[in-house]
Point group: C2
């Protein structure tokens, strides 16, 4: 029962800070100046004080390995409500919320209740915002607060259990399920699940159509290619629309505009605006632009390095598997795989580090700008590592294989200097025996879209789980041994109060979990989408494989967040950000590769006219040209059509904006009503008014303007005179004739 | 002196309405039910009454040919100020103005004085807005008010004279000159002049570079082509930026969002929104989309019709000028020109009418949406008629001339059935004698970019002027004759008061002027830009010609507006609208045609390798592919770079938004300040508090949560206990060793 108590209640804890006052490495390597205990104590006191000063109550408990667990909760709900209200007003003023919050705090909270993610976000901001902005200024792992090892909220295990149970038994996710995630984990994670769900739903159509194409249309079907290209367009544009709508539904539209500044941003000049008095820490745009130009050499270098590596491994592989027939072939076959699996992650890691440094150097002002710039660079790396192998097979190996492969003998010459007579090699093994292996392309695509997905799933979910279980076992053993040997490292739990024991054990174990990064999951989805957009024409069952994979993935990600990760802090977002650009871009590239693949392989790898020699450069380029421009035109047309579609979210927003406008308008116009109503000039044409007119015109001192405007003193006079003019107008021909007839 | 008086003063007249109570045709064709005089009188009375009801004073005078001149001015300045203020508040609420207008009307007008175009726009809206929206509902030439022939304000001749004088002597226009136009004629016309000025300024660089290329780089220089393509990118993106900036500077950013609804819009359903109570006249988007699909057959038909016509004339021309050598050649040479100059305008007119009807049928809700849709269709027509002839020469005549031209003998067979022996014709005249005329392309481009510009200038400025002078002469003669013969049609000026005679004569002559349509001038500029983007690589002096032309054009347009047109009513706009899309599109197409032209003709019309037969399809397509994608990439990069550039307009807007936000924020937060400040839990650890703790924990009824949180009663206790935990932490290895050493 105690166990279930610990699992079901968080005892009102909002956040937990792990404060590490000494690290194990420092213990071993004492020369590096470990802060002594007094410093650590003072620092910790400062931490607790700061938290208290922003209205947070704290409790401290012992943690593992020289750390303290600091439990945080809001001291007064009323104070929290004030903070929530402030945040909402700020949103409204920045145009994020369309309805003005009620002027009375409590009423506003009743009308629009606070969800858990909002509560946790506000508290998170209270803890991390700079002191100048009313926060405690605690920045985990950064600068002054390096000792604050992590800051996380506790999992809601009751909800998590229900969540996983519900999803596992449910075929499709409803919008309410997504709302639920948003309410719990914030909009940023909500957008990931919404995107994956939309992607999954959209996949159902090509999955079905793919089976049809696989059965009836044959390989490299142009019909399938066109349908997939259109599908990409519709999906991308639909998601843009949907994203907008979700942002409105969740009340976060435009939130990226008011995002908190980056802590690492280094202003070059601080300008105090003479009018607003607002200190503006700025960094000249031109200088940043210059720094961004470094991306060009970076991209070139990345393409060259990764490209060379992949191409080399590819060449070795082709050589060994298709030309080489010397000794050790059975072992040498694994050489390229070994090279790739060791070298590629190393190189990618290196380049990613470099990209991060480059982005740091670009010195962005906001987190979102930073993230966007970094994502773009990472996307380039991902693009190369993910798609280059297939591109090489499709556009180098197959069309030019018979020309290039013989040159791979250079390897043969080096690796087998003592081989049989060269003549034999050349004449028999290479130009005659060598034939392009058309199955290679399909095999490769199947590998990337089925095998690699399953392997990825395993490394993402199963391996960490096993690792963690092993680690826990190891820890238990170690601590048992330590206690037995000398009592040196007693477990942190020794001093726990009995009724808290279970709860604290749970918190300690959650403290050791990883931090969830939703962008990694998003990247995975986008890379997957890329295979679909670029290569699914090679093997029409790709969408089916992905549909199955993503159904599982959605649920596995939920499990991952609940079990393997610390509960993520709820961030806000109004888009999946730079990945949207990536999707759009991949669809575009897909229209090119799709056309090229169909043209090159439409007759099972032997070109449109039955023999590979009949592949014409201009034919290929013309297919690409038409396909690409049709794609761009379709995109334009679909975007136009979709932009016309209305949605409940948009309607709600318009309604709210209307009401707010109306209210403001009325308030502002109150005083114009005080203006005297328009009084008509003069009144009836009375004797006195006529006399007045006569007098004024006889005065002669009246300006020409006055004279002009005083001839007719009100609208009735104008009408009278006009009528007179009409009546007196020259009789028309007909009247003339009629008159003439009468006279007769 | 009286004359100059009439020219210098408008006698305070804001607008003039020409009310025609009987038309000449009706006079002749009396069966069609001419409204009799009583109806006309009543109708006129209603008109005057309506105007009076919205606070406008009127004066009526006699007009030419059965018409009345109704002079309108605002009766009370205070009332007008109220209207201006209302309009400004509305702008602010819709986010057009960034600063909230002062809450006091007069103060707002002092802070931000009303310019003439604002005044005239407000009065124009008073006259034309529906009665439900507080206007008089007078819609010239439409529906009930068909008799209101025109509604215009009077030229300010003093200003006009200065304007033209200033511009004629000034080399470049300053931003203040543009502000001046905007203050007088409104933002829509202001944007036209701003665009043309920006275009002219940008042209100076390619004009210079073009001379350089013409002298040193030879024809069809790839360097020139690349430079021009980049120039197009930079110009388009710069203009987007500039346009945004101007819209902020002129306070109209976002004005297209709040545009008045179209009078002709026919709602299908009127839905009363249950929440706002706002009547929403709507037309289903899906139905409109279906109607818009008609554009596809329309475009196809237009391309086919115009294309066939142009291609036929082209073929006839080639045939006659280059193959035909029979009788009547000197006359027949003019046949295609005659066909084109008569048939093309006829066909274009027909298609334009059709496009207008199609757009009417699409039933748009706002004027701007309507205008946009119509412009798009007109642009397609313009694209075909303007560029197809050159495209035919470049991409059909030159590369395929030697293949196609012989088939033109079909004409020969028909037109000359009795010609010399066919054998002779075929063998001598066509395949052997016929040679492509490479000068044709250049001649054609020179024609379109120099000759046609001058001709266009003449038809636009000189011809109307001459026509008008002639018309005036004719009228004078006619009226003199009429008076002499029977006194039937006395001039309208007979009854004029002597001091008004000159003024009224001027008004009557202005009433007969045409209505200025700024979109015609914009279209002309965009079509011109198209020649530059698409074909300037053929003859590098194109930009020079255009630069000279546009310097004159800017001034000629000013003269045109002042002399040949009624003073245009000031409309607002925040962009050059759909023409921006057109420019962007033309630049893109230019990247394709440019590459193709350079590839095809780079060695003076004989292909890259010196002989026309060496032109490879894949080479051409590859050039296009690279050029286009480089263009798109450059556009993306330039757009990114330019979007980072700040500007005074943007700064001003940010500042104003900041101030407004701050004010609203403070007002809204006033009452959250009333919340009690955060009080720290408990105080010092006193005996009583400890006793209290003991008691509460001994009570046993406390929930686990309470127990957990009551262990440490304030931050000082937390800090104390944390410090304690740190102090008591297990001694580290080093301390152990130190301790060990001491013991030794």
């Amino acid at each position: 029962m105690a166990k279930s108590q610990a699992m079901t209640s968080n005892l009102g804890v909002d956040y937990v800070i792990v404060y590490r006052f000494a690290t194990t490495e420092e213990t071993c390597n004492a020369d590096r100046g470990r802060p002594d205990k007094t410093t650590a104590s003072n620092h910790f006191e400062e931490l607790v004080h700061r938290l208290a000063s922003v209205g947070l109550a704290t409790e401290v408990r012992n943690g593992e390995n020289h750390s303290l667990l600091l439990f945080i909760r809001v001291a007064s709900e009323k104070h929290l409500h004030g903070e929530v209200y402030r945040s909402r007003v700020k949103d409204w003023i920045h145009g994020v919320r369309s309805a003005e919050p009620s002027r009375e705090t409590q009423q506003s909270l009743i009308k629009d209740p606070m969800v858990e993610s909002e509560r946790l976000r506000i508290i998170y901001q209270l803890i991390t915002n700079p002191q100048a902005e009313g926060g405690a200024g605690i920045t985990p792992k950064k600068g002054e607060w390096e000792n604050v090892e992590s800051l996380f909220s506790l999992h809601d295990h009751v909800y998590n259990k229900e969540w996983i149970k519900k999803w596992a038994t449910q075929w499709l996710l409803t919008p309410e399920d997504l709302d639920d995630i948003r309410d719990r984990l914030g909009e940023k994670i909500g957008f990931y699940f919404a995107f994956t769900q939309a992607y999954f739903t959209f996949l159902l159509f090509p999955a079905g159509f793919g089976i049809f194409a696989w059965l009836f249309l044959g390989h490299f079907s142009s019909i399938y290619g066109i349908v997939m290209s259109l599908w990409c367009v519709v999906f991308t544009e639909y998601w843009k629309h949907q994203e907008h709508d979700l942002a409105l539904r969740w009340g976060v539209r435009g939130v990226s505009q008011i995002e908190a500044p980056r802590h690492e941003f280094q202003a070059k000049t601080t300008v105090r605006d003479p009018i607003t008095g607002e200190d503006q820490a700025t960094f000249p745009a031109v200088e940043r632009l210059q720094r961004q130009l470094l991306q060009v050499p970076f991209t070139v270098a990345a393409v060259l390095l990764l490209g060379t590596m992949i191409a080399t491994c590819f060449a070795i592989e082709v050589f060994i598997s298709e030309i080489y027939s010397g000794p050790g072939k059975s072992l040498l076959v694994f050489l390229p795989t070994v090279l790739l699996t060791t070298g590629l992650p190393l190189l990618t890691g290196l380049l990613t580090q470099f990209a991060t440094r480059l982005t740091d150097f670009e010195n962005f002002e906001t987190e979102s700008a930073y993230e966007k710039a970094l994502t773009r660079k990472i996307f380039v790396l991902n693009f190369i590592t993910s798609y280059l192998p297939v591109l090489l097979t499709a556009f180098v190996y197959v069309p030019f294989g018979s020309i290039i492969v013989p040159y791979l003998d250079v390897f043969a010459l080096i690796t087998r200097p003592f081989a049989n007579s060269e003549k034999e090699l050349h004449t028999t093994a290479v130009p005659n025996q060598f034939a392009i292996n058309p199955a290679r392309l399909r095999k490769q695509v199947i590998y990337f879209t089925v095998t690699a997905q399953i392997v990825g799933f395993a490394t993402e979910i199963v391996v960490p789980y096993a690792k963690r279980q092993g680690f826990l076992k190891y820890r238990q053993m170690q601590s048992a041994r330590a206690q037995k040997s000398s009592g040196l490292a007693p477990s942190a739990s020794v001093e726990d109060a009995p009724e808290e024991k279970e709860f604290l054990a749970r918190v300690r174990s959650e403290a050791e979990l990883d931090v969830y990064n939703v962008y990694d999951d998003l990247r995975e989805m986008v890379v997957q989408y890329g295979y679909l957009a670029l290569f699914s024409v090679i093997w029409p069952l790709v969408p089916l494989s992905f549909a199955i994979n993503n159904w599982v993935e959605l649920r596995a990600d939920a499990v991952k967040i609940c079990v393997e990760m610390q509960r993520p802090a709820p961030y806000r977002a109004d888009t999946i950000g730079p990945w949207l650009e990536a999707i759009s871009f991949l669809g575009w590239v897909g229209s090119i590769t799709g056309a090229a693949l169909v043209y090159l392989f439409s007759n099972d790898g032997i070109g449109p006219d039955g023999s590979p020699s009949d592949i014409k450069g201009w034919g290929l380029l013309l297919s690409i040209f038409f396909s690409e421009h049709l794609f761009l035109f379709a995109r334009w047309a679909v975007a136009m059509a979709i932009s016309r579609i209305d949605s409940p979210g948009r309607q709600k927003e318009r309604r709210e904006r209307y009401l707010t406008r109306q209210k403001l308008f009325e308030e502002s116009l109150d005083q114009t009503h005080k203006l005297p109503p328009m009084s008509e000039k003069g009144g009836e044409i009375t004797r006195s008014s006529l006399e007045e007119e006569a007098r004024s015109s006889s005065l002669g001192t009246a300006s020409p303007e006055e004279k002009f405007w005083n001839r007719q003193r009100n609208w009735r006079e104008s009408a009278q005179i006009g009528t007179g003019l009409i009546e007196r107008s020259v009789p028309t021909q007909k009247e003339m004739e009629a008159g003439g007839k009468k006279e007769l």
